[in-house]
């Protein structure tokens, strides 16, 4: 205990020391590095220069061709495959510069080879053409989805607007609805998904890696991370685990998930899934790695922690106080979902003395005449509810509604009136069901839904003692979990005060200045530390 306390004090000391040291290394060093460099006259060196900044991404493409002037000049268009409309590139850049130019007379073509500015004016048929000398500007343009035309012996990059128009195939995120905030979810097309992330994070540090998995299916996989933030050892570990996957075919992203986790046979999943680009982007900024799978709108995030499942994207679109409140409802929901039916069983069959007299009489009155013991009654009702829920999700919408009406009528009313179950247990099951919906992400609540039955059995045999035993087993299990080496129960165990600010409650944005040291090594400063609004001096 004392040793733990000492460690804790040391940790806090370290925290404060770090605070001062990070002041000297501001956030945007990489950008300062490349503002100095400008484009040269050489086409090849220009292309290589751009590639050094963006070349590690698979969607960076270079299309080289010859402009048929006299003599002909080499040219290249550099662009991000995922952001660019291919037809537009073809019709407004390549066609006019190649086949279109060859229609001109030979004299004209000879003069154009010297005056490249007029060549651009005459030949390019695009609505927005700008030229840039700085590599920074050029790269920004590429990341925005423009094509950059580089011409030999010309020290400017010409940005041409060939990016995709507003994508119409956005899906509304079905499982992660928010009221205030973007209504945009990932789709089945992997390139569209990558472009969605690119539109959120227009950084040259965003790495998009390509993988192919499945001997027969040859499924496309993209590993996306910010290479200046994400822990390189976790990235390496991820690639090692991906290499290990050697199967005939992968049909959905969740199959990879099971091959990637640290504790494969555990009830709780240690990878996080989302279908929201904004959530993915914010997690990438925290130093996580996103896995995109072609054909799946679900993005896998590693490493994940328990808080991910309790944080709703909407928390960041709302007042921090309310966001904290709604998180607490989620925590209470998790507790109630796991323990409420078992507490009901334990109290009504073992510990009637803990109830206030009137409540005891009310429950006894509600249960009088019920032929089943409390455990069986609660178990039957929970199973009935679970099957109703399943029936409701499997069936088409209108049939699903009919099922829930019939279920609610039969179970909620007829069964109580017939005296088969008590109204108390219906209330318990209903409250449990409502609380199970308060947890924003289902992966975690699914496991808790199963745990609930285990707890109920323990409560029916051992009462509160059994529930406590179960709770200890649950806590031991959760604390021992790791996700890519990161403790799953961060920020609670190990306790991390800094991370509690964002992951347990939701502090205002100006006060969350650091990334978690459990996920990110080194570059953990997120925001400047003086963002708190003050009255002017």
């Amino acid at each position: 205990m004392l040793r733990y306390f000492n460690n804790f004090i040391k940790k806090i000391k370290n925290l404060t020391i770090k605070n001062y040291s990070t002041n000297e290394d501001p956030l945007f060093i990489p950008e300062e590095n490349y503002t100095s460099s400008v484009l040269s006259n050489k086409l090849d060196s220009n292309v290589t220069l751009i590639k050094t900044y963006l070349g590690h991404s698979v969607d960076l493409k270079v299309r080289s061709f010859l402009i048929p002037t006299v003599p002909s000049i080499g040219a290249s268009v550099v662009f991000l495959d995922t952001m660019v409309e291919d037809q537009l590139l073809e019709s407004s850049v390549i066609a006019p510069l190649t086949t279109g130019l060859s229609l001109h007379s030979e004299d004209e073509r000879a003069s154009l080879s010297i005056h490249i500015d007029s060549l651009i004016e005459k030949a390019l048929s695009n609505s927005l053409v700008n030229s840039y000398e700085n590599v920074t500007d050029v790269i920004d343009q590429i990341l925005l989805g423009q094509g950059i035309l580089l011409i030999d012996n010309y020290s400017k990059g010409i940005s041409i607007k060939i990016n995709r128009g507003p994508l119409r195939d956005f899906a509304e995120p079905k499982t992660e609805k928010v009221i205030k905030g973007p209504q945009q979810g990932f789709v089945e097309d992997i390139d569209v998904n990558v472009s969605m992330i690119r539109k959120k994070i227009k950084s040259s540090n965003l790495v998009v890696n390509q993988c192919k998995i499945g001997k027969e299916s040859r499924s496309e996989l993209r590993v996306i991370y910010l290479n200046n933030i994400a822990d390189s050892s976790i990235v390496e570990e991820l690639f090692q685990r991906l290499d290990r996957i050697n199967i005939d075919g992968l049909i959905n992203s969740s199959s990879i998930e099971e091959c990637l986790t640290d504790s494969p046979s555990n009830l709780f999943q240690t990878t996080f899934c989302t279908e929201r680009p904004d959530r993915t982007a914010s997690l990438l900024l925290e130093g996580r790695i996103a896995l995109l799978f072609d054909g799946s709108p679900i993005v896998i995030i590693v490493p994940s922690i328990i808080s991910d499942f309790f944080i709703s994207t909407e928390d960041y679109y709302q007042n921090p106080y309310f966001a904290t409140f709604s998180r607490f409802i989620g925590y209470i929901g998790a507790f109630m979902l796991t323990f409420f039916p078992s507490i009901y069983i334990a109290i009504t069959t073992f510990h009637q003395e803990v109830l206030p007299t009137r409540l005891a009489l009310t429950i006894a009155g509600a249960r009088s005449g019920v032929p089943f013991p409390a455990f069986l009654e609660a178990l039957l009702m929970e199973i009935a509810f679970e099957s109703l829920r399943q029936a409701g999700t499997r069936l088409p919408t209108h049939v699903g509604q009919a099922v829930s009406i019939v279920g609610a009528l039969i179970i909620g009313q007829a069964a109580v009136e017939a005296g088969l179950v008590s109204s108390a247990v219906v209330i318990v099951v209903a409250i449990t069901a409502i609380f199970s919906f308060t947890i924003p992400y289902t992966n975690f609540s699914l496991s808790l839904r199963l745990t609930r039955f285990f707890m109920m059995a323990l409560a029916a045999t051992l009462g509160i003692y059994g529930i406590m035993t179960g709770a200890f087993m649950l806590a031991l299990n959760l604390i021992s979990l790791r996700s890519f080496g990161v403790p799953f129960m961060v920020p609670f165990a190990p306790l991390s005060l800094q991370d509690l600010k964002d992951w347990f409650v939701r502090f205002p944005q100006w006060s969350i200045t650091k990334r978690s040291s459990h996920i990110v090594k080194g570059n953990n400063s997120r925001k400047s530390r003086n963002m708190k609004p003050n009255p002017p001096n």
Binding site: T349, A360, L361, T362, S368, V370
Partner: protein, 383 residues
């Protein structure tokens, strides 16, 4: 794996050694709400249990008499009599929710120690249940239905909880009872419960708490009226929001003071073998009501009222103490506690004959009152 084995082994061991293996469904329990105990002519204990009828309690409009049933049985001892109830009861009787214990005064005169022991040893009973004394058979008290459809035992606890509104009575719980029984010096005090005739023809008879029952250790000694009840509450620091009434000296107005706060400070003394006590009462109150005998508005001097209130309280306490010393010869204020704390050695010599020493003690009372405000009506201060 090894840990898992260890864990399951531990679980199995605790499973076998656990003492909570007492599974019972809530609807099969007979919730005993109140227990009454008296003695038959043959000298057997007679126990009356008031058992709640849960399905009638949850009914939308419960019937007066359907919410409970009364069971009765006899036995050689208290526990024996309670166990004999199982030969009558339709359900397994469960005494964790017993709210009241009513003791017949014939038993109380003999002493409470015979019956309290069982309730303390039984793991189900709660120490917070209220204890009452009754001069009529307990079953008559317990079988007093009311038009609200509330179980009589709950009515009793409700009245007991509201004692602060009058501060004329004091209801002891089982914990205090046990303390008084176990400690030969502490004298026990609780309330007498009575059944009074109905206020109108159609109303059923009602329950009333009116008198304080004082004990010499655990043996019933006498009943006090509520003047002395207030004095008891004032001295023992249990006075909450009672009313104190007197006549305003200058013009015979009736004044009612509502006490907001009161505290007592008892300073024991011991010199030349004589016990002395200085009791200081500090009271804060407001003038809650004033019935004027004059027809025109006239001023009320708060200073005079305070002085008069001091006098009234001192008189009240002196009267109660004089009665305790001379008539009852019982230190039911338990001033012995204060004395013991200051003079533990001397007390050891005095404790066997404490009541005698108490009756000879010099006790002085001083009241210090402050009226925080007069009634907040239109003419405040000048009514």
């Amino acid at each position: 794996m090894k840990q898992l084995k260890l864990l399951s082994l531990l679980l199995v061991i605790t499973l076998l050694s656990t003492a909570c293996w007492s599974r019972r469904e809530i609807e099969n329990l007979g919730f005993v709400m109140g227990i009454g105990i008296s003695k038959t002519e043959e000298g057997l204990y007679s126990v009356v249990a008031q058992v709640a009828n849960p399905s009638a309690v949850v009914a939308e409009s419960p019937e007066q008499r359907a919410v409970y049933s009364i069971l009765r049985s006899e036995g050689l001892t208290f526990f024996d009599a309670i166990r004999n109830l199982s030969m009558v009861a339709a359900r397994r009787l469960y005494i964790a929710h017993v709210n009241v214990l009513i003791v017949d005064d014939s038993i109380a005169k003999e002493g409470l120690s015979d019956i309290v022991g069982f309730l303390v040893q039984d793991m189900e009973a709660r120490l917070e249940l209220d204890v009452f004394i009754s001069e009529i058979p307990p079953e008559v008290i317990l079988d007093t239905p009311n038009t609200l459809g509330v179980i009589p035992a709950i009515v009793l606890t409700t009245i007991a909880d509201n004692y602060g509104a009058n501060s004329k009575i004091y209801v002891a719980d089982l914990h205090e009872t046990v303390e008084a029984v176990n400690n030969p010096v502490i004298n026990y005090v609780t309330t007498l419960v009575e059944k009074i005739p109905p206020p109108s023809d159609k109303e059923p008879p009602q329950i009333r708490f009116n008198k304080l029952a004082i004990f010499d250790n655990d043996k019933l000694k006498a009943y006090l009226d509520y003047e002395e009840g207030q004095a008891f509450n004032l001295i023992t620091n249990r006075f909450k929001n009672g009313l104190i009434a007197f006549e305003y000296a200058t013009n015979d107005d009736e004044i009612i003071i509502e006490v907001l706060e009161s505290s007592s400070k008892i300073t024991p003394g011991f010199s030349n073998g004589k016990v002395t006590f200085d009791i200081e009462i500090t009271i804060e109150g407001n003038i809650a009501e004033r019935q004027s005998k004059l027809d025109f508005p006239h001023q009320l001097d708060v200073g005079v009222v305070q002085e008069q209130l001091n006098k009234v309280i001192e008189d009240k306490l002196y009267k109660a103490i004089a009665n305790a010393q001379q008539v009852y010869v019982v230190d039911y204020f338990n001033l012995s506690k204060n004395f013991y704390r200051k003079f533990p050695k001397e007390f050891k010599e005095l404790q066997d004959n404490w009541n005698q020493h108490f009756s000879k003690a010099d006790i002085s009372v001083k009241a210090e009152s402050s009226i925080t405000h007069s009634a907040l009506n239109l003419n405040r201060g000048r009514i």
